[in-house]
Every structure is written in structure tokens, then in C-alpha cells.
């Protein structure tokens, strides 16, 4: 139940981020979720797209350093404490979260959180067993 995310190395220079997303747009690839983490010199762009394989090809053709990673996408309903319950559950069952980011869904009252942990497959199962909605790759890619 894991989905594929692209990580792209980005130098901190004006317009670089725009160039990368333009490369994706030109290949007719839709971005589902995006997150940028950066230091003063460089950043890592993390994106979930509808066609990850094609996206990685295109970016590589443009000379970029890209990798594919498995992450999990959790649907969280919009009431207080729901998200912290998920995080607590992962922590208590021994998963280390490397990073996470959220995006809002078109469905009212729901948000999605992308989580990267060690042992992602097991983490997804644990969340699912505890009543959380884990999104399938198809759901995300066809969103």
C-alpha cells in the first residue's frame, strides 16, 4: 500500500524550482502533492505525481539527480486529535518518522498526510489495523 514519491536535488538559485516543475508540466505530468525542504545552499523537492516512472525519466533526461522512494499516504478526518493519534501510534509501535507533509483533499473534511518511515509497509498495516485510511497508489495517482 505504499506510493512512490520523487526526491529531486535542487540548488538554491532563482527560478530553479520553476524550471523543474515546468519540465514535469511539459511532459504532461500532474503533481498531487509537493514539499520542499531546504538549507541555505540546496533543497530537496519531494513530489507525488500521477505518473512517477515517466516523471523520473523526464527529470533524469534533464540532468537532474532524482530518486524514487516509497512513502505512505494516510487519510485523516478533520477533527481535533486525529492526526496526533496517528503519530502517537507510529511512535509507540517503534516506527521512526523521517519526514512528513500534508495536503488537503477535494473531499470536504479530509486531509492527507504523506509519511516516510522506516519499514513503510508494516507501518501502513499498523495504521490500517487501527482504523486509519491508507490510500492505495491508484487512488492517489487518479485523484
Amino acid at each position: 500500500m505504499q506510493i512512490q514519491q520523487l526526491s529531486v536535488f535542487v540548488e538554491n538559485k532563482p527560478g530553479r524550482l520553476a524550471e523543474i516543475t515546468e519540465v514535469l508540466a511539459a511532459a504532461n505530468i500532474d503533481i498531487r502533492a509537493i514539499s520542499v525542504a531546504d538549507t541555505s545552499d540546496f533543497g530537496i523537492l519531494r513530489v507525488i505525481v500521477d505518473k512517477p516512472k515517466e516523471a523520473i525519466e523526464t527529470l533524469k533526461e534533464h540532468g537532474m539527480t532524482v530518486s524514487l522512494t516509497n512513502v505512505i499516504a494516510v487519510g485523516v478526518s478533520d477533527h481535533p486529535g486525529e492526526f496526533s493519534r496517528a503519530v502517537r501510534l507510529l511512535a509507540d509501535t517503534g516506527f521512526d518518522m523521517e519526514y512528513m507533509y500534508a495536503f488537503i483533499s477535494r473531499d470536504k473534511g479530509r486531509a492527507y498526510v504523506i509519511i516516510r518511515t522506516n519499514n513503510g509497509q508494516k507501518a501502513a498495516e499498523t495504521l490500517q489495523e487501527n482504523g486509519f485510511d491508507i490510500l492505495s497508489p491508484e487512488t492517489i495517482y487518479n485523484m
Binding site: S7, V8, F9, V10, E11, A37, T39, D41, F42, I44, G63, M64, T65, V66, S67, T69, E98, Y99, R116
Partner: protein, 438 residues
């Protein structure tokens, strides 16, 4: 294997006797044929070669510098009428006018011998097919190697530089056994070979890499050897002295054998101009002993190296110089510390996950020197976590600190974003006389 065994294995006293005789003749030749030298030598009281009693008397001969050659541009140091000159070469000056070299027929013939000696020492024979990927034109590298290789009987492909796809195609299709190139271009071709999609066997005939015209660290050499499956030997020379062939490595790669019958080397302290003790590093000074077209007395090369007079295992007795450690003028002085780009390069080449290409940017920050080292990230597996990327940065920083004794700023940049050089690499950007960035 030797090209001119009798000369290459002469005993030390015989070499020195020959050098003394030729030096005295060379002093007379310069005095009588080049007004510039006549004036210089007269001032120093050396009005004839007879004044030179022993080899060490060379210390009384004035030095010739790059500026002297430039001031006499283009033909002021020529010792024969132009009708006796059969070729003109020039090396691109990074500033101002090029350095011109003129050659008589005998000069070209001897030069080819010197090159033939070093390529033979490197293992090249008449069986070999050698691709010369140096830029042709005025540069001495390409034609110098070309004539020397032909003299050995090797098959020469004058590929010149550029159009790397075609370079690879020739390497495969012509069954090339040896490559002549600059180390940075060989490194680049090596990267392309890895990515070319052809199995390594397609380049399986490659054995020799005769690389020169710019510095190459041990680590860079290993990387080139791995990627291209070749054995790399270094050679040395410059237009001011003739071109490549002044010295070159034998199969044992323990120093570059000098063509001592034709070039007399000395090592001096670049500041006091005094001779260094044997085995000590300093600036290399060379006197041409046989050159007719443009003889040079005590030319200050600005290259820093050491000389080793022990005979080599290969049987050659001519003095061996170490790989050039740096240049007196590309040495950067940063916060009072001497920094050679080659030191930085050796750290980067030895670091996993980053590319071997780099750029050094020196600027002033708060009135202090600041060295930035830009290097390409090539391994995407590091993108999983910032921690990993920062660890690479920190590792490079720490290694540089221990090698240079200096704080640096290490910047990771995108792959292939730094310029690839096909000639002498220009990797230093010194902005210290520019206004500070705020």
C-alpha cells in the same frame, strides 16, 4: 623498452660531461645569435661559454622568465633566420599575448625523439593505435605527441578534442589501444563510457592513457584508469621549452624521466632564487641544451617539483622529476595559507557520491578570505534524508580542513552543472578584488 637506449641509460658522469659540453656551446650560441641573451650574459660577465668551468657555474647565468618571452613577442628570442624555421607553435596565454615557439627542422626531429622516448617508456609500440584527443592547432601537445608516436611506428588518429560521442565511436570502432588527452577530458570521456550503454568490452582494447598538459592527482588517475580500463602515464613539457617530451613516466611510474641530454633541470627556491638541496621541492628551472630555433637559458617554469637522481628500476639513468605538485602562480594564498587546487581535487576524487569536477570560488567576506568549494552531487540515493547530504558536505569540509588547515564552505551543486574543460582546466574564480557581497 627503450627508444634510444644508449642515451637513456648513460652513466651519471657521462651525462654530466655531455651536459657541460652542451651548456658551454649553448651559451656561445645564445650569445652570438640572440641580442637579448648577449645583453643579459654580458651584464653577468659571461661573455663566452669558456666562463662555465663546471656544471654548477650555471648559477651565474641569468634566469629567463615568462615575462622575458612575452616582452620579446613574437620572434625576439629566435636564433636563426626565419627561412630556417619550419614551424611555429604558440600556447594560449590566459592574459595578454600567447607564448610563441619556433622550430627548425632539426628541432622537430629531436622533439619527436623525446616524445618517442616517453611513449616507448609508457609501453607504446608500433602495434598500437593511438587516438589523440588534444586540440590540434597552435598548441604543442597534439602535434608533439603526433610526431613522436609516428616515429615509434604507432597508428595515429588525429581526433582532436570535442564531439565526445564521435570520440567514443572511434575508440570502439577503430580498436583504439591508447588515448592522448588532458586528464580532465579523459575523466569526462570515462564518465561517458560508463553511461554510453555499450558494455565495457566495447572499449576493451584500450590499454594506454598518455595524459598531460595539466595536473592529475593520484586519485583522479585511479578514477580514469577504472572507467577507461587503461594504464595512465604522465608527461611534461611546455612551448617555452619545446613541448611535451621534456619528461615522462616509465612503466614503473615513479617519477618523470627528464631528457637530460637536451634539457638541464635545476630546482630553486622561488623567493631566494638559490639552488635547493637535492631532493627538496622548489621551482623547476630548465635550460635547453640543443634547441636551435629558440634556445632558452634557465627558464623559470613556475612549476613546483623535486628531482631524484637515483637510477630507475627500468634501467633509465636520467633524472626523475616528481609529478608537478603545483604552480607558483596557481597557488592560492588564502588567509596566509598556501593552497594548491590539486590538494582539493585529491580530496574530492576520494569522496564517494560526489563528482570529480569542481570549482573554487575565493571571495572576501567581512574583509576575510573565504574559500567556497563547489562540487557536483551524483548519487541520488542520498536524497532520502538531509542528514545524509549534510554528512557528505561535512565529510568534505573536514577532510579539506585536515589537508589544507583551512575552513572552507562546501556547496553541493547539481550534476553536470559545472563546466567541463577540454583544455587546461580553469577551476579557480578569484573574486577577492571584487566588492563584497552583502
Amino acid at each position: 623498452m627503450f627508444f634510444q637506449k644508449e642515451i637513456e641509460t648513460m652513466k651519471r658522469p657521462e651525462i654530466e660531461a655531455l651536459q657541460l659540453e652542451r651548456l658551454r656551446r649553448m651559451v656561445d650560441y645564445c650569445y652570438n645569435n640572440v641580442p637579448f641573451y648577449q645583453e643579459r650574459l654580458s651584464k653577468a660577465g659571461i661573455t663566452s661559454g669558456d666562463k662555465i668551468k663546471v656544471l654548477s657555474d650555471i648559477q651565474y647565468i641569468p634566469f629567463t622568465t615568462k615575462d622575458d618571452i612575452r616582452d620579446n613577442y613574437p620572434f625576439g628570442l629566435m636564433a636563426v633566420p626565419m627561412k630556417d624555421i619550419v614551424r611555429i607553435h604558440a600556447s594560449s596565454g590566459t592574459t595578454g599575448k600567447p607564448t610563441v615557439g619556433v622550430y627548425t627542422k632539426a628541432d622537430i626531429d629531436r622533439w619527436s625523439d623525446f616524445v618517442a622516448r616517453i611513449v616507448t617508456a609508457a609501453g607504446v609500440t608500433a602495434e598500437d593505435i593511438i587516438q589523440i584527443s588534444f586540440g590540434y592547432g597552435l598548441f604543442t601537445g597534439a602535434l608533439g605527441l603526433h610526431f613522436g608516436l609516428e616515429k615509434v611506428g604507432a597508428t595515429v588518429i588525429p581526433a582532436s578534442s570535442g564531439n565526445s560521442e564521435k570520440q567514443l565511436m572511434m575508440l570502439r570502432d577503430f580498436g583504439v589501444t591508447g588515448l592522448v588527452a588532458t586528464p580532465s577530458y579523459a575523466l569526462y570521456l570515462g564518465e561517458l563510457v560508463r553511461e554510453s550503454g555499450y558494455p565495457k568490452e566495447a572499449y576493451g582494447k584500450l590499454r594506454h592513457g598518455i595524459l598531460g598538459s595539466e595536473g592529475c592527482t593520484e586519485e583522479m588517475r585511479q578514477r580514469i584508469e577504472e572507467n577507461l580500463g587503461i594504464n595512465v602515464t604522465d608527461n611534461y613539457g611546455m612551448t617555452e621549452l619545446t613541448g611535451p617530451g621534456v619528461s615522462g613516466e616509465c612503466e614503473y611510474r615513479c617519477g618523470l624521466h627528464f631528457a637530460e641530454d637536451a634539457f638541464l633541470p635545476e630546482i630553486i627556491d622561488q623567493d631566494t632564487l638559490e639552488h635547493k638541496a637535492p631532493g627538496e621541492a622548489g621551482e623547476l628551472v630548465v635550460t635547453t641544451l640543443m634547441r636551435e630555433g629558440m634556445p632558452v637559458l634557465r627558464y623559470r617554469t613556475k612549476d613546483i617539483t623535486r628531482l631524484n637522481y637515483e637510477p630507475c628500476r627500468c634501467g633509465r639513468t636520467h633524472v626523475r622529476m616528481d609529478k608537478v605538485m603545483g604552480r607558483t602562480d596557481d597557488m592560492l594564498i588564502i588567509k596566509g595559507v598556501n593552497v594548491f587546487p590539486s590538494q582539493i581535487e585529491s580530496v574530492l576524487v576520494a569522496t564517494e557520491k560526489v563528482g570529480p569536477h569542481y570549482q573554487l570560488v575565493v571571495r572576501k567576506k567581512n574583509y576575510m578570505d573565504n574559500l567556497e568549494v563547489k562540487v557536483e552531487l551524483i548519487d541520488a540515493s542520498l536524497l532520502e534524508s538531509f542528514g545524509e547530504l549534510e554528512k557528505v558536505q561535512r565529510t568534505i569540509h573536514d577532510r579539506l580542513k585536515s589537508v589544507l588547515g583551512l575552513e572552507t564552505k562546501v556547496t553541493l551543486v547539481e550534476p553536470k552543472s559545472l563546466e567541463r574543460f577540454q583544455g587546461k582546466a580553469k577551476r579557480v574564480l578569484d573574486l577577492r578584488n571584487q566588492p563584497e557581497e552583502r
